[in-house]
């Protein structure tokens, strides 16, 4: 069984492995990061560490929307960096059997959208491997944008 933290953006549900989630926090103000990839909403000072905030909305063709006080952010640790994932709400932790996953790589053009889809008690969940959440191009563009902003 894989434990996922399931979160929602509008009516869509997303999941990331629970072991990769450090914390869930109420959303905070996100500072814009010039020339960053669309999936990067901006940066947040996380206890002295500048952490990119990721907004999956553009991936799914959803228009930008102002943050609300009841929105959440998930702190996830990838091998390269910490990321904040912006979410409208967090549904909770759910166990998803591996069999419930369909490997979407062959089905969907541009599989980078997400890594798998599974059904949980909440419904269909787009499951992300946080190491592959950002494409190589996005990682490079993000690094360059952080460099230009003087972020170590």
């Amino acid at each position: 069984m894989a434990a996922l933290v399931v979160f929602g953006i509008e009516e869509r549900l997303f999941g990331v492995p629970a072991e990769d989630v450090e914390r869930v926090l109420p959303v905070v103000d996100v500072m814009p990061l010039p020339e960053s990839p669309p999936v990067v909403a901006g940066i947040v000072d996380y206890g002295g560490v500048i952490v990119p905030a990721i907004d999956l909305r553009p991936r799914f063709g959803l228009p930008p929307r102002p943050l609300r006080l009841d929105h959440r952010m998930l702190v996830v640790a990838t091998r390269r960096r910490l990321l904040l994932l912006l979410a409208d709400r967090v549904e909770g932790v759910t166990e998803v059997a591996p069999q419930a996953f369909d490997d979407m790589a062959d089905l969907i053009d541009g599989a980078a959208l997400f890594n798998a889809a599974g059904t949980s008690q909440h419904g269909l969940v787009y499951v992300y491997d946080i190491e592959a959440l950002l494409s190589v191009d996005e990682e490079v563009a993000l690094d360059a944008a952080l460099d230009r902003a003087g972020v170590p």
């Binding site: 905070v28 103000d29 996380y46 206890g47 002295g48 006080l69 009841d70 959440r72 640790a77 190589v136």
Partner: protein, 197 residues
């Protein structure tokens, strides 16, 4: 309906935009001041080993076993990265010297190698030749600097530490096309009787 301050459950629609932004900025400032985020640094457990005078490390969770290397049998047709195959725990593992694969010179006699790290990833398994085991090391992921040129796609190493430890990316390494033997995508050979080479 919610009394008190701007709690997480409060309906933001009740508040003017400027007030929401003020609260979000206030939260951001509080988060920035929060100490101890250093504790969130991701650590990785690695098994470190030596080949010649080069130190390598691989993710500990990919290591099935460290074993004294028994008789290594050379098989015709094996690429030069392999020393041969060993029989271990009922299975045959190809023994890989990672250095030629990484373009490193192999110094010293190959016979010095006495240890095999049996590793498994992506459903494949092989044995990595090692001269000496340095044991388990725990490193902050941030201390492993990605290799130069890693923007060009996957490389076989996760990075280097300041101490010169080469951290191998076993998941990519084990899938490297150059490791393919006789058109078999999997280096592991199961001893299912009658079909030995």
């Amino acid at each position: 309906m919610t009394a008190g301050g701007p709690g997480p459950g409060q309906d933001a629609a009740d508040l003017p935009d400027a007030e929401i932004r003020r609260i979000l900025r206030q939260r951001a400032a509080a988060l920035a001041r929060q100490p101890g985020q250093g504790g969130l640094v991701r650590e990785v457990d690695l098994i470190a080993f030596r080949l010649g005078d080069q130190r390598f490390a691989i993710a500990a969770d990919t290591v099935l076993q460290a074993a004294r290397l028994g008789t290594v049998t050379w098989l015709p047709g094996l690429p030069a990265f392999y020393r041969g195959v060993v029989y271990q725990g009922g299975e045959v593992f190809p023994v890989l010297d990672v250095r030629p694969l990484l373009g490193m010179a192999v110094a010293g006699p190959a016979e010095a190698t006495t240890i095999a790290l049996l590793v498994e990833a992506e459903g494949r398994a092989l044995a990595l030749a090692a001269d000496r085991l340095d044991g388990l090391v725990r490193l902050a992921a941030a201390d492993i600097a990605p290799p130069a040129g890693s923007d060009d796609g996957p490389t076989l190493i996760d990075g280097l530490t300041e101490q010169g430890l080469v951290v191998l990316d076993i998941r990519h390494l084990i899938q490297d096309a150059r490791l393919v033997v006789n058109g078999q995508p999997t280096p592991r050979t199961r001893t299912s009787g009658g079909s030995s080479g």
